[in-house]
């Protein structure tokens, strides 16, 4: 009887702690895979975008806070740029790879997701909403992104990063073929 109770308690404890055990970061795509997808023919050398001066303040306006680094590496070739950016959803940073072509988003993919909940934002059915979105003058995307119940903060984080990538694509001159 006592053994049964102990066994039941252990199973209950294990069952309750299972979600936290499963909460490790999920890597959906590595940087190399992301870049190979972005530039199928030949991968360009990385460039540096320093976040200082007016660029820094614009990024701050788009994100609502400072980006937690002073420089970003990006890859630019033939008016196409690839960005690997991070933004905190609820508590942990989400790593996102964004490809911008001319003036629109060609693709947005979650590379690493670290939060316990809200991983649905990594599904292509959600991220495909960002395809062909452009940045309006008021600093927002030209169409609303449908939210996901229980992943509101992650959806907002991805939306902020999408606007940031579009801005940086233009600000670094990649949009004009620089």
């Amino acid at each position: 009887m006592l053994m049964n109770q102990i066994r039941t308690s252990l199973l209950l404890i294990f069952g309750l702690s299972l979600p936290s055990l499963l909460a490790a970061a999920t890597v959906y795509e590595s940087q190399a895979e992301f870049l190979a997808r972005a530039f199928s023919d030949s991968q360009p050398q990385p460039g540096i975008a320093w976040l200082s001066g007016e660029r820094k303040s614009t990024v701050q306006q788009l994100l609502g806070h400072d980006y937690p680094a002073l420089r970003l590496r990006y890859w630019c070739q033939d008016q196409r740029s690839a960005w690997i950016l991070e933004e905190v959803g609820k508590e942990l940073p989400i790593t996102v790879g964004i490809v911008v072509d001319k003036d629109y988003i060609k693709s947005l993919r979650v590379l690493t997701y670290r939060e316990n909940r809200g991983g649905e934002v990594a599904t292509p059915s959600f991220t495909d909403q960002f395809n062909h979105r452009v940045l309006q003058e008021n600093g927002t995307l030209d169409a609303a992104i449908d939210g996901i119940s229980g992943a509101t903060l992650s959806v907002k984080a991805l939306t902020r990063l999408a606007t940031m990538a579009l801005f940086l694509h233009s600000d670094t001159g990649c949009k004009d073929g620089a």
Partner: protein
């Protein structure tokens, strides 16, 4: 009659035992109560506990280990997942394994990422080992005093001058000077331990918790309850003995 006397004697003995036992408790309550009453005037609500024993009791223990690495101008220290530049917290990194400085910038290595800092500790870039192309990072060092080198799974990876691109080292490359842990200077260790713990509770709060027994948890509150009942018993038994003594002295007169 004899039974009554024996009963009175037992109560008197109990009164004496409780009195002796409760006296220390009472003295402590009086002193702590007086201090709490004047804590604002004494500034105890503004002063914080710094004694390691008390901080440990509150779960504000120091770091288990502090690993420090010296670069040309700075000390980089890892306490848990917190990274310090000299004594200032700058960022977080897991499993810190070394740091090197190059051209005014500092490169800090953890097992799965590199942090690039400027000379003041601002984070320039966070670079995952995955982005380098390497696996878990084992060591970081400088090759010929200028090329940042990391070792991963037995392979050396060399960075370019701006730490943008990494390439595997040719076999003929010289051995880099690896960043190795150094004994943390005592003053720095003390400062880092203090920073890691953060600000302790105010002295007023500790006194209040001592005064209520809560500092010892539910058992402390229970013990204080029993001591308070003992004091109550003392008051009642004292009154009884006083009234009896008064009655007896009247009879004698």
């Amino acid at each position: 009659m004899a039974h009554k006397k024996a009963k009175a004697s037992a109560v008197r003995r109990l009164h004496r035992s409780f009195g002796a036992g409760a006296s220390l408790f009472l003295m402590f309550m009086v002193l702590s109560g007086l201090t709490i009453n004047h804590s604002n005037g004494l500034g105890l609500d503004q002063r914080h506990v710094t004694q390691p024993l008390l901080l440990g009791w509150y779960g504000l223990g120091g770091p288990e280990n502090i690993n420090s690495f010296q670069t040309a101008e700075h000390w980089l220290s890892f306490a848990g997942s917190q990274l310090y530049l000299n004594a200032a917290p700058v960022s977080t990194i897991s499993n810190g394994i070394g740091a090197v400085s190059m051209g005014g910038m500092i490169v800090v290595a953890g097992s799965d990422e590199l942090l690039l800092l400027d000379g003041e500790g601002s984070l320039i870039e966070r670079l995952s080992a995955n982005a380098i192309g390497a696996g878990p990072i084992e060591s970081i060092g400088l090759l010929e005093g200028q090329t940042v080198t990391v070792k991963s799974m037995g392979q050396l990876w060399l960075a370019d001058a701006e730490l943008l691109s990494w390439s595997p080292s040719p076999d003929s490359a010289e051995a880099p000077v690896w960043s190795l842990p150094q004994p943390t200077p005592d003053t720095l260790r003390q400062t880092l331990s203090r920073q890691y713990r953060g600000e302790g509770p105010s002295i007023e709060r500790v006194l209040l918790e001592f005064n209520s027994g809560r500092i010892f948890g539910p058992v402390g509150v229970l013990v204080y309850d029993l001591l308070a009942l003992a004091v109550g018993f003392l008051a009642v038994s004292g009154l009884v003995f006083w009234s009896r003594g008064r009655r007896n002295s009247k009879r004698k007169n």
